[in-house]
Structure formats: structure tokens, C-alpha cells
């Protein structure tokens, strides 16, 4: 057959076909992560970034130490918080998930429920770590009997302010909501070049302290069914007060209706804002970018309406291992290394997050550092979890609260209209299940 000239075309076609399939195979071979066959094992790791200090040096040290201990190399990728949820979901969809990832407390139930994460409960138990973990983080990572992550760090948001501006105007950190308004107005009059307290539209974690502070609830569970309460009179009053900081008292800027938390940090770093809602990890990141603010930054807890502290979201991250990981034992080794001992303490110190183990947390809470103590107080005295249900991750993905705040801040809807819309959306998601 091959000797006949007539078959030349067929052969050519076959060659062409082969070439195409080779291309296709090559195309499929790329991408994906995980360990290659052979001696050199690699773990893909996803770490979040956003308003926290630059973690590069920590990661370099961690990679070196991990390689020394296990011989495996780390491929660390940084993800922006704002787009991370979509990245996780598309990775789960495409089978390109990392081996180990930092997963936010509000997402872990969603991914765990979907079956994408490994139940680390048995391994944590085996390693004798179960007792010393921070309750709020364990609660966030637990669904049914499974614990889908090793608590890595906790964080809480308070208010970061410019001490030099407060001194100049003779102001004291506010301890009630009325004082917060008064302080904002004093800054507005005394320093018209500054935005006193920008209110970002897409920043739900600054909404909840006011919603809770006024006695409201995000959602409550009753016999397995969740119901939204953002449209209750108390929640509405809290949201109204928060929105009025911008709308009635003019402490914000119209642009902020579209801002995220990162924009608040940027405005403060550029010296354009006097106070911002910020996490304990933010002051250090601000000083990295704007060393001239050294000594001019302070923090105070978000006050309650008539004194005391407003509850603030106890957020944070857990380290999770993905089901798709080829080498779950190796992945767990990394999680254990990052979540305990030297590297956990180092991470907490360098990032200004609070550690995920009780022992290290108590140590951090005793800190006298003026940029740590107010956050520690807010966390220990009034840290509070958002609803622990896979549906809440979906509500966050839907940006329900962000859409609500944006429409209020732009004047498109009243607090009543916007909270009703948001509550309806939340109830629909609760009813639909994940």
C-alpha cells in the first residue's frame, strides 16, 4: 500500500491528522498543577493578597524551609481577595485547583459542601492540635462533622486614623456613635483637604458592626432554615446610621460608592483620608507604602452606639487541602508547618494578623503596641462570626450587601427599599440551597 503513489495523499492526510492530535495533546498537557512523576515534587499554593503587608519574604523563607524538610518545592501564587472567589470556583470547575490554599472563613463552607476540600479533622486530631484552635475559625471551617481547614489566622476590623490630624484639631478617639459623627465633622471643618471617613460601597465588613451595633442581625437560623434580617427595624437603623455618615453628614466622597476596602487603604496611604475602616493587617501595609506616615497612625475600636464596642466581624483564613491534590500527605505537612509553631508565629508577626491558635493569640492580645492593642480588644471583646452556612458564601458571591450599600450611597434607593431587596435576595438563596 505505501509503495503506491496513490496513497501519498492519504499518508499526507494521516500526517496532518497526527500533527493536529499531537498539538491537541500538547494543549491538554499544559496547565493544571500538582506533582509531576519522578523525584521533584511540587505543591501549588494559593495565598491571598489585598490590604495586607507584602508577604514575599515570608514565602521565600517558608519555601526554603519546606524544601529542606521534604525535598518538595512550592509554587506559590498570590490572588487578590476581590477576585479570589471566582478564581477558586473556576479552578474547581476546570480541575486546576491548587494543592493547598488559604481559604477565607466565609467561603470554606461553600467549597467544603461542594466536595472540593479535604476533611482535615482526622489529621488535626492525630497531630494533637484540636484543642488549641481559635473557636471562631473552627466554627467557620466546620460543616457537619467535617473540619475543612486548619485555622491559620484571624482578623478583625476597627478604625485606623491619623493621630497628627487628631492632635492638630484637639480630637480624641470617639467612644460612641454621636462622638464618631462629631469627630468626623470636626475633621471636615478643620481639614477640608481630607475625606474624614470614606464609606466604601463594596465593603460589607464595615456594614455589619453598625447593623449589629444597632441590635440587628444579618440572618438567623430557625430549625435548619435561615432567614435574612437585614430588613428588620434594628438592622435598618444601623445601616441608616452607617449610610448617613456619607449621605447626611458628608464625611465621605461620592466616588467611594464604588470603592472596595483596597481603595480605602489607597486613599489613606495617599494621605487623603483621616479615618478608614481597616483590618489589623492594614497599618503595616500602609507604612510599607507610605513611610512618611510613620508615627502618625493610630487605631481605635469601632464604638458601640452608646459606649462599649460594636461587634466586628471575626474573619480570617484557614489553610485547606484540595481533594484534587495528588499528594495530600505532603500538602498536610505544609499546612501543619504553616499553621503551627515558628511559621505561624512569624506569619502573625509579619502580617499583623492574629494567629489561629489560642496560645499564640493570647500572646498577641497582650500586646501594648498602639497599632495592635485596639484591634486585639475589638477581637477579644466583640468579635463575631457571620452566618456559617454555604449559602452565605453564595450571598457574598452575589455581592448582595455591596449592591445594597451602593444603591443607598448613590441615592438610587432608600435604606428601606434597598434592605428589602437585599433581604429578598438572601432569602431566595437560603431557600434555594447551595
Amino acid at each position: 500500500m505505501w509503495s503506491r503513489p496513490g496513497s501519498r495523499g492519504t499518508r499526507r492526510a494521516a500526517v496532518a491528522l497526527l500533527a493536529v492530535s499531537a498539538l491537541a495533546v500538547a494543549g491538554c498537557g499544559g496547565g493544571g498543577g500538582g506533582a509531576d512523576a519522578g523525584g521533584d515534587r511540587t505543591l501549588t499554593v494559593w495565598i491571598m493578597e489585598g490590604t495586607n503587608p507584602d508577604p514575599t519574604s515570608y514565602i521565600t523563607e517558608l519555601s526554603a524551609a519546606f524544601q529542606e524538610r521534604t525535598g518538595a518545592t512550592l509554587d506559590v501564587q498570590f490572588l487578590q481577595w476581590a477576585s479570589a472567589h471566582d478564581r477558586f470556583v473556576t479552578a474547581i470547575a476546570g480541575g486546576t485547583t491548587p494543592d493547598v490554599a488559604e481559604v477565607g472563613t466565609t467561603w470554606i463552607a461553600e467549597f467544603g459542601d461542594a466536595g472540593a476540600l479535604v476533611d482535615l479533622g482526622p489529621r488535626i486530631q492525630e497531630a494533637g492540635l484540636s484543642d488549641g484552635l481559635v473557636d471562631g475559625l473552627v466554627e467557620a471551617g466546620t460543616l457537619g462533622a467535617a473540619l475543612y481547614g486548619m485555622p491559620w489566622y484571624a482578623g478583625v476590623r476597627s478604625i485606623v486614623y491619623r493621630t497628627d490630624v487628631f492632635t492638630e484639631l484637639g480630637l480624641e478617639p470617639p467612644t460612641t456613635w454621636d462622638e464618631l459623627v462629631a469627630v468626623g465633622q470636626a475633621v471636615k471643618e478643620g481639614r477640608p483637604d481630607l475625606v474624614p471617613l470614606p464609606i466604601a460601597g463594596d465593603n460589607e465588613f464595615a456594614v455589619y458592626p453598625f447593623l449589629w451595633g444597632a441590635g440587628g442581625e444579618i440572618a438567623t437560623q430557625d430549625g435548619g432554615t435561615w432567614t435574612s434580617h437585614v430588613d428588620s427595624p434594628e438592622s435598618r437603623a444601623g445601616i441608616q446610621f452607617y449610610a448617613d455618615l456619607a449621605l447626611r453628614h458628608g464625611l465621605s466622597t461620592p466616588a467611594a460608592a464604588n470603592w472596595r476596602e483596597t481603595h480605602l487603604k489607597d486613599a489613606f496611604t495617599k494621605g487623603e483620608a483621616a479615618m478608614i475602616f481597616a483590618g489589623s493587617w492594614t497599618p503595616k501595609a500602609i507604612l510599607e507604602d507610605a513611610p512618611e506616615l510613620e508615627g502618625k497612625i493610630g487605631a481605635f475600636p469601632i464604638p458601640g452606639p452608646d459606649g462599649g464596642l460594636a461587634p466586628s466581624v471575626l474573619g480570617g483564613s484557614l489553610l485547606s487541602v484540595f481533594e484534587s491534590s495528588d499528594d495530600q500527605d505532603l500538602a498536610w505537612q505544609l499546612v501543619e508547618m504553616m499553621g503551627t509553631g515558628e511559621f505561624a508565629a512569624k506569619w502573625a508577626a509579619e502580617s499583623s494578623y492574629f494567629p489561629g491558635t489560642e496560645e499564640l493569640l493570647n500572646e498577641a492580645a497582650q500586646s501594648s503596641d498602639p497599632l495592635v492593642a485596639p484591634f486585639a480588644r475589638q477581637m477579644v471583646e466583640s468579635g463575631r462570626s457571620v452566618p456559617v452556612t454555604p449559602a452565605f458564601g453564595q450571598i457574598q458571591g452575589n455581592k448582595t450587601i455591596a449592591a445594597m450599600m451602593r444603591s443607598i450611597l448613590t441615592g438610587e434607593a432608600t435604606v428601606e427599599q434597598a434592605t428589602s431587596t437585599a433581604a429578598a435576595e438572601m432569602n431566595e438563596i437560603f431557600a434555594g440551597g447551595a
Binding site: 470556583v89 461553600e110 466616588a255 481533594e323 455581592k399 449592591a403
Partner: protein, 321 residues
């Protein structure tokens, strides 16, 4: 087809074959298919399979759990029923998508044609310079371009906001171009037209250069002005070119995603500016409702097919296609 026809006569006529008595391999009639196979494989794999998959998905209730476990949950046309019963579709998403696409396509084609007419009159050297400048606009990735436009229109200190404030049109201290639906889409239209007109300009220019000089001269002698010359001479001769650029622009502008999604509020925070494209993404990947997202994508495709067909029918007579 032509290959098959040409080979057919050789089959019976022994004399036509260089070696008498040699039988034609039976694979002869399959040869065209073999030659087409690579292209068909690529198209089938890259176009047909995803299309079918989206259609199948749109008939399922498909979430993150189904994705991981591989289970399927058929729901028939529930996704479509939910979609069509959603008032947001009719109030915001569909009008946004259609009006934006129509305006953007019209502006892109008009601006592109005007630039092409300008280019045709320039000397080769200047034309080269201007073409290069235009190509830069085309070469900028959509992501970069969008961020530049967002930067220009940033509230308070964006250069465009400051300029409009200086003209007394808006108040820079309070205006936010990304809040209002109309101004949001005005910025998006600027971005899309700026990114899309170079393609139209260069394609139309290529067409313009094929029009024989004599025709234009004859028209000038007949006393036709520039307006008349364009509609009686240039446009009729370039109908196929305009058909192509209009249809392509329509397809691009209908499914525009990056330019909307990356603008402040375009990622679903501002529900008033959702388009079919961004809505489909938000439902699929933020809500993990891939079935509903797929149904939206199918709706977008169907809409696109209908509008393209209507466009072509309106603009061009059938025999010209």
C-alpha cells in the same frame, strides 16, 4: 466538492491512469474528508462541543456540587422559565445589552468609515503614520484600555471629570460617572468604539482603494458632490465590506464582557448595568448556578443570530450575500 468531481472521470477511463490495470484505491472518495478532517476536528472540538455542552447544561440544575461529583440533575426548561420570568431581564439586562450594542456598532462603523475616507485622501507617508497611530488603539488589550478609561473618568480627580467640571457641565466634587446607568454606558461606549473603530477603518480603506479612479472622476464630471458620491458610488460598491464589518462589530459588541465587567460596579455590584454577558458570568461563577448561566448564554446566542439575520436582511438584498 471540486476535488471529488475532478477525480471522478478518471475512475472509469483506464487510459487516464498512468499505469493501466492499477485499481483506484477505494479511499479516493474519502480523501476530501481526510483533508478536511483537521479543520473539522479543530472546529468540532473548539466550537461545536462547547456549544452543545452549553445547550445541555442549560437544561440542568448544575452547581458546584454537581461539578465536583459529576452527577447530573435534569430540570427541563426550568432555567429558561426562571430566566424569562425575571423582571430584571426585561427591565435592565436586555435593554442594556441591545441599546448598548446598537449604539456602539453604529458609532464604530460611522467613525471607522469617516477615518477610512480620511486615510484614502492622505499621501502614502502620512497615511502610514496615521494608520500606525490607529493601530495602537487596536493593539491595546481590552483590559488595559478599560483601566485607562476608568482612570480618565475617576470621580473627583479624573482628567475627564476635571475637564467637564471646568466646562461647567458637572460638579467634580459630587459627580460619579460610574453611578448612573447612562453615564456608565457612555464611558463604556467610548471605550468600545475607541477599541473597535481601527478594524472598521482599515477594512473599509482596503475596499476604498479597490474602487477604480475612473468611476470617481466620471462622477465628479457629472457634478456629484462628496455626499452624493459616497451614497451612489462608494457605498454600493463596498456593500459586502460594510456587511462584514457591521456583522462582526455586532457580534463583538453584543457579547462585550471585559469592558463592562472591569468598570466600577460592572462586576454585579451595580445591578443596573448588567448585560447578558456579565449576568451570565455572575450567575455561573459567583452564584455557582451554571445551568442558569448557560441558559443566559444560549439566549444571548439566539438573540445574536436573530439580530444578525435581521441586520443583513435590512441592509443588503439577498442576492448580494
Amino acid at each position: 466538492m471540486t476535488v471529488a468531481e475532478r477525480t471522478r472521470p478518471g475512475r472509469g477511463a483506464v487510459g487516464a491512469s498512468p499505469r493501466p490495470g492499477r485499481r483506484r484505491p477505494r479511499g479516493r472518495s474519502t480523501r476530501p474528508w481526510l483533508l478536511l478532517a483537521p479543520a473539522l476536528l479543530v472546529m468540532g472540538g473548539l466550537l461545536l462541543y462547547p456549544l452543545v455542552r452549553v445547550l445541555v447544561l442549560s437544561l440542568q440544575d448544575f452547581g458546584l456540587r454537581e461539578l465536583v461529583s459529576g452527577r447530573t440533575n435534569w430540570v427541563g426548561f426550568d432555567n429558561y422559565a426562571e430566566l424569562l420570568a425575571n423582571p430584571d431581564l426585561w427591565r435592565t439586562v436586555l435593554p442594556n445589552t441591545v441599546v448598548f450594542a446598537v449604539v456602539a456598532v453604529a458609532l464604530t462603523v460611522v467613525v471607522g468609515t469617516l477615518v477610512a475616507l480620511l486615510l484614502a485622501r492622505l499621501s502614502p507617508v502620512v497615511r502610514g503614520l496615521v494608520t500606525t497611530a490607529i493601530l495602537v488603539a487596536w493593539a491595546i488589550p481590552a483590559v488595559t484600555g478599560t483601566y485607562v478609561w476608568v482612570f480618565i473618568f475617576t470621580p473627583v480627580d479624573g482628567i475627564a471629570v476635571q475637564a467637564l467640571d471646568a466646562l461647567g457641565l458637572i460638579d467634580a466634587a459630587t459627580a460619579n460617572p460610574f453611578s448612573d446607568r447612562l453615564s456608565f454606558y457612555a464611558v463604556a461606549t467610548l471605550n468600545v468604539v475607541h477599541h473597535g473603530f481601527p478594524f472598521v477603518a482599515l477594512t473599509v480603506l482596503a475596499g476604498l482603494l479597490t474602487i477604480p479612479q475612473e468611476l470617481t472622476e466620471a462622477a465628479v464630471i457629472d457634478g456629484a458632490g462628496p455626499w452624493r458620491r459616497f451614497w451612489s458610488l462608494t457605498f454600493p460598491m463596498l456593500r459586502p465590506v460594510f456587511a462584514v464589518v457591521t456583522v462582526l462589530s455586532t457580534i463583538w459588541d453584543f457579547k462585550v464582557f471585559t469592558q463592562i465587567y472591569l468598570m466600577p460596579g460592572g462586576d454585579g455590584v451595580n445591578r443596573n448595568v448588567l448585560t447578558l454577558g456579565t449576568w451570565s458570568y455572575v450567575e455561573s461563577f459567583a452564584q455557582n448556578r451554571y445551568g442558569l448561566g448557560a441558559a443566559i448564554a444560549v439566549l444571548l446566542t439566539a438573540l445574536l443570530l436573530i439580530i444578525t439575520a435581521v441586520y443583513l436582511r435590512l441592509l443588503f438584498r439577498e442576492e448580494e450575500l
